[in-house]
Amino acid sequence: MVNIVTLVKQSPDVEAVRIGPNGAPDLSAAGLKVSDYDKNAVEAAVQLKEKNAGTKVFALSLGGAKLEESVKEVLAMGCDEAVMLTDAAFAHTDTAEKARLLALAVKKMGNVDLVIAAEESLDSHSGQTGPRVAEELGWPLVAYVTDNLRLEGKTLKAEREVDEGIEEVEVALPAVITVLESLNTPRLPALMQILQAKNKPKRTFSAADLGAGEIKPTLARPKSEAPKSDRKGIMLPNDNLEAAAEELAKALAKEGVI
């Protein structure tokens, strides 16, 4: 009997974010979605459930008023229950405080053996949440899992990819792991699963429920704007591609790069 918590972030759809005339991002038209890579984490959890009888998968998510829309998606993928952290006090958290809150929720849920997170999120990609949750819980971390993820009783085994190559590792649960996209291909739920997801149990915790205390971000983010392009933007005439290629080769030689 293993209880798995997958961390699920609701993120702006970054490809749809427009950049305004002053360089500031306009998120109003972008919409919200499950951070793509989190679906690899959910897929990993659901596959472990399929191979290990008695395993239960929880989706844990911190977010705003529309959080349930994203949570339903991962319930349809095979998570059994959802725990949502919503509170007006969470509007001004940073990655560090979110990780602390997620860890408090894992403790409150109790009997959790394994936390699975994506290596990074779609919008912030700081890669901090998984490692921070591990340290908050005092649990070991297996980051960058790419292959052969499996459970043998209460021991987790996996291959992870680090700077120098691949490490085969094992760890006694409880533990936190982060997964890379190459681990699996997230499933597309069938209509029946989407319909069933509506009836799966959902719980909501507030800051008070978690005993969160004062929320104090460690980072300020005073500015976020599109980097200015200082590229030349020279378009070569394309009526004769051989001539264009020769012109390009000459330009590159003149730049001193070939």
């Binding site: 700081s126 890669g127 085994k157 190559g165 490490e167 982060t178 300020a220 500015k223 080769a249």
Partner: protein
């Protein structure tokens, strides 16, 4: 001047960060794990080296490394910790952030000192923006991508202090059973002076020969966008350039049949020159190109290959 702890698994990356640390007006103190030449850091500008010989650090796993870095901070009363932005640094920095209650900026593209605070910029919103991030804590932690900074030239006559790292570090609960190389090796995209990036414009795996031929003529390497490494599986992850893949900064990046999704362009943004070849004149890649040709890569790449050969012969 306040001390900053520097650690990277590769000495060259530590040298790069030492140079930046000094530019920020901080005193670089390097944590060195295991055997090796501690004086090399000093010759590249470190004021002091703390050598960690604790056996629990043997596999440089995140748990014990977090303790070692926290001990190093304590030992020299450091106000900042700068780590390499590779996978090792990226798993350690957030854990150290929890342990020291410190703000962490991962993969900072820029850093400066402003009114006594460290100010960083990093890619945000999937690469659409650069966000300015300022740690609000007594200690600031950051990781930097490799090759962002130039190391200082080595000065063999400089001598500095080498001390032992004091303190115990936890035993790693994660056991490394085996280590093996990646499935494919020999591709070192980050070091390649010229990179030819292949995207969805290629119709089959065999056609990638066009990119490899051009790269060979230019003395460069081939890289690819996300779908070629993931969905299509034509190339391994080692070739994958982008937000979730490698970041390259060659002298010339030639984007062939790449539309320019943010996921990819974040990995090429620091290239000196960007060349784009695409049949779609509205492809976003042209907006960040120095030179662009609207045309079929199946014609342009062989023509460019010939033109480069001619140019080199000239």
């Amino acid at each position: 001047m306040a001390n900053a702890i520097v650690w990277a698994p590769e000495p060259r990356q530590a040298f790069e960060i030492i140079a930046k640390t000094k530019e920020l007006g901080l005193t670089p103190v390097v944590l060195h794990v295991g055997a090796g030449d501690a004086q090399a850091y000093i010759q590249h500008g470190a004021a002091k080296v703390l050598v960690a010989e604790q056996p629990n650090l043997k596999d440089i796993q995140a748990g014990p490394m977090t303790d070692a870095l926290a001990d190093a901070v304590k030992q020299v009363d450091a106000k900042a910790v700068f780590l390499s932005g590779g996978r090792r640094g990226k798993e350690i920095a957030p854990r150290l952030g929890v342990k020291l209650r410190a703000g962490v900026v991962t993969l900072a593209q820029k850093a400066r000192s402003e009114n006594g605070k460290l100010v960083f910029e990093r890619m945000f919103l999937g690469g659409k923006t650069l966000a300015t991030e300022v740690p609000q804590t007594d200690i600031a932690i950051a990781t930097f991508p490799a090759r962002l900074f130039e190391p200082l030239p080595a000065n063999p006559s400089v001598k500095g202090e080498v001390a032992k790292l004091a303190g115990d570090v936890r035993e790693s609960k994660v056991k490394v059973v085996a280590k093996k190389p990646r499935k494919e090796s020999g591709v070192n995209l980050e070091a390649a002076p010229i990179v030819v990036g292949a995207g969805r414009g290629f119709k089959s795996k065999d056609d990638l020969k066009l990119a490899f031929d051009l790269a060979a003529t230019l003395g460069g390497q081939v890289g690819c966008s996300r779908p070629l490494a993931t969905d299509l599986g034509w190339l391994t992850d080692e070739y994958w350039i982008g937000l979730s893949g490698k970041e390259v900064k060659p002298k010339v990046y030639i984007a062939a049949g790449i539309s320019g999704q943010i996921q990819h362009t974040t990995g090429i943004r620091n290239s000196k020159l960007i060349v784009a070849v695409n049949t779609n004149k509205d492809a976003p890649i042209f907006k960040m190109a120095d030179y662009g040709i609207v045309g079929d890569l199946y014609k342009v790449l062989p023509a460019l290959n010939n033109a480069v050969k001619k140019q080199k012969g000239a």
